[in-house]
């Protein structure tokens, strides 16, 4: 009499929120290893990254120098390890500056609304038309090349992207009853934003920061590749890709490949992690729009 049936369907592909999934965990591990290397890498390197020995130019691996040598006979492993620090610190600054400024602008615009919000939106619109790398090169041309000017230029170039994303989330948050209840209580705008609004955006901010870290790495590497970022002889993965170029033509691609590989690996890892973190966070509910308009 009793029939049993199971509605068949694929079981949840990935564990709901919270869970990163195997790919996400791998990405997080890659990033963690890179961070550790950036922190202690330079001490780990057995050789001096800047000591050149032309006798070993493009030399194959030898005992104590497991990755071989570059065009000037410098130890590749030592340079990769030392470069990790600059290559990670640069994007870190870009993201820290860009996120702070972008979030501040977004929250102020979202809070005040009205003409200020429209004005900020228009200014951001104009800034969108500047590609970050181009801006960085322009700044380098004016203020002289170097990591500092590249970092500032990129941070500025990222602001509109960050601000636009954060603004829409901040607007939604700002109109939630719990924020309005605090307004009615008489709490100041600054306090409400600092203690309630921004902390509730943190998951979104963390996800965005991770994604932008990946972009910043690529952009800084490009800038350094063109000789406008980190200056030789300092080790940096972007610089290494560039200086390894001549080797590629002569059949010694090790330097460019290794440094480029590190960049690609980390950028992919940051992207994966950023995607995973933002999963299920930005639940914009588009149907709300219809519901409002419908009763008019």
């Amino acid at each position: 009499m009793t029939a049993t049936s199971v509605v068949r369907a694929r079981a949840g592909a990935r564990a709901g929120r919270g869970g990163l999934g195997p790919l996400g965990v791998t990405a997080a591990t890659v990033i963690a290893v890179a961070v550790v290397l950036a922190a202690i890498g330079p001490e780990l390197a057995s050789a001096d990254p800047n000591a050149s020995d032309f006798a070993h130019a493009y030399g194959p691996p030898t005992p104590g120098h497991p990755l071989g040598y570059d065009s000037q006979g410098r130890d590749l492993l030592a340079r990769l390890l030392t470069g990790a620090r600059t290559s990670l610190l640069g994007p870190l600054w870009v993201v820290a500056l860009g996120m702070t400024a972008g979030t501040a602008i977004a929250v102020v615009a979202a809070w005040r609304g009205g003409w200020l919000d429209s004005m900020v939106s228009s200014v951001l619109e104009v800034m969108f038309s500047f590609p970050g790398v181009l801006l960085a090169m322009l700044v380098a041309a004016v203020f002289g090349p170097g990591l500092t000017s590249a970092v500032f230029a990129l941070a500025v170039a990222y602001i509109p992207y960050i601000a636009r994303l954060v603004r829409s989330a901040a607007v939604a948050e700002r109109h939630k009853p719990y924020i309005q209840a605090l307004e009615v209580q008489g709490l100041g705008a600054f306090t409400i934003c600092l203690r309630h609004l921004v902390p509730n955006l943190l998951p979104l901010l963390a996800a965005q920061a991770t994604l932008f870290f990946g972009y910043a790495m690529v952009d800084l590497a490009i800038v350094s590749f063109f000789g406008l970022g980190v200056q030789p002889p300092d080790a940096d993965w972007g610089v290494m890709v560039a200086s390894g170029q001549s080797g590629v033509l002569q059949g010694y691609p090790a330097e460019s490949l290794l440094a480029g590989g590190c960049i690609v690996l980390l950028v992919v890892a940051f992207n994966v992690l950023g995607e995973r973190l933002s999963d299920g966070r930005r639940v914009h509910r588009p149907w709300r729009l219809f519901r409002r308009g419908g009763t008019a």
């Binding site: 009853p177 719990y178 209840a181 008489g186 100041g188 309630h196 509730n200």
Partner: protein, 267 residues
């Protein structure tokens, strides 16, 4: 001469040319409960938001506790004083609390703002408020995500009462709750009024709930007040045709839905 603690006169609000509230006047006596009823879109929430200062009136005057509040506050002190006069509880229990704050912390934050109590004094007051709305210590110290809708709404009421306001606005605050929870919260509201003497501006579309809570009713339609009077009179002898329609639309014993009204549907 005026003993009202809340006086609203000739309130108007237009949103980009669309009239949401038109010439609304009423007053609320200390400790009284005034209900604002009407269908959705009739302007009830807009009136409430103008009173608490979340929306600026296009025209009209609002006076609470002897102070004008038709304009935005000019100083930090004035803003805080207004917070101590009128508080509001919204409809949706799920977005009314900061998801990162436990009820105890949320109430404590308000006490810090409005009182000079020390940590021990605040802790005692938090416990008193929890008791007033019927929450236990465990419930006061978990994150809102662990509380049910009714419990969250009690937290919102406790937080609103922390500043000891003279007026509490309840904007459809029990509408989203299940019947058995709604009854609990309505009893909490009755108890709070008896124990604190706070006055209610009770916004609702539910006439049965209004009968339970309010002494007086104003009926709004299309942004204006169409009828007002003591609760019993308005519900038992509605005079305006719209109030009569509202009254006869409520299901009850022997009720039959009337098709007649159907054909007159506007829009």
């Amino acid at each position: 001469m005026t003993e009202a603690i809340l006086e609203v006169e000739g309130l108007h609000k237009t949103f980009k040319g669309a009239v949401a509230v038109a010439d609304v006047s009423f007053s609320l006596r200390p400790g009284a409960a005034l209900a604002v009823v009407g269908e959705s879109g009739s302007g009830k929430t807009t009136v409430a938001r103008m009173i608490v200062g979340l929306e600026r009136p296009t025209a009209g005057r609002i006076t609470a506790c002897g102070h004008d509040r038709s304009h935005p506050p000019r100083s930090v002190r004035e803003r805080r004083r207004r917070g101590g006069e009128i508080q509001i509880v919204f409809q949706d229990p799920y977005s009314s609390l900061d998801p990162r704050q436990s009820p105890a912390t949320a109430v404590d934050e308000i006490l810090r703002l409005h009182t000079r109590l020390d940590a021990a004094g605040r802790r005692r007051r938090v416990a008193e408020l929890a008791d007033l709305v019927g929450l236990d210590e465990r419930q006061m110290n978990v994150l809102p995500s662990e509380l049910s809708g009714g419990q969250r709404q009690r937290v919102a009421i406790a937080r609103a009462l922390a500043a000891e306001p003279q007026i509490l606005i309840l904007d459809e605050s029990v509408a989203a709750l299940d019947v058995s929870i709604q009854a609990q919260v309505l009893n909490v509201l009755a108890g709070v009024r008896e124990r604190t003497g706070v006055a209610y501006l009770f916004i609702s579309h539910d006439l049965a709930v209004v009968r339970q809570v309010a002494d007086e009713i104003v009926v709004m339609r299309g942004g204006s007040i169409v009828e007002r009077g003591p609760t019993a009179q308005v519900l038992d002898n509605p005079r305006h045709p719209y109030t009569r329609l509202l009254r006869t639309s409520v299901p009850g014993p022997g009720w039959r839905p009337a098709r007649r009204a159907t054909r007159k549907e506007t829009q």
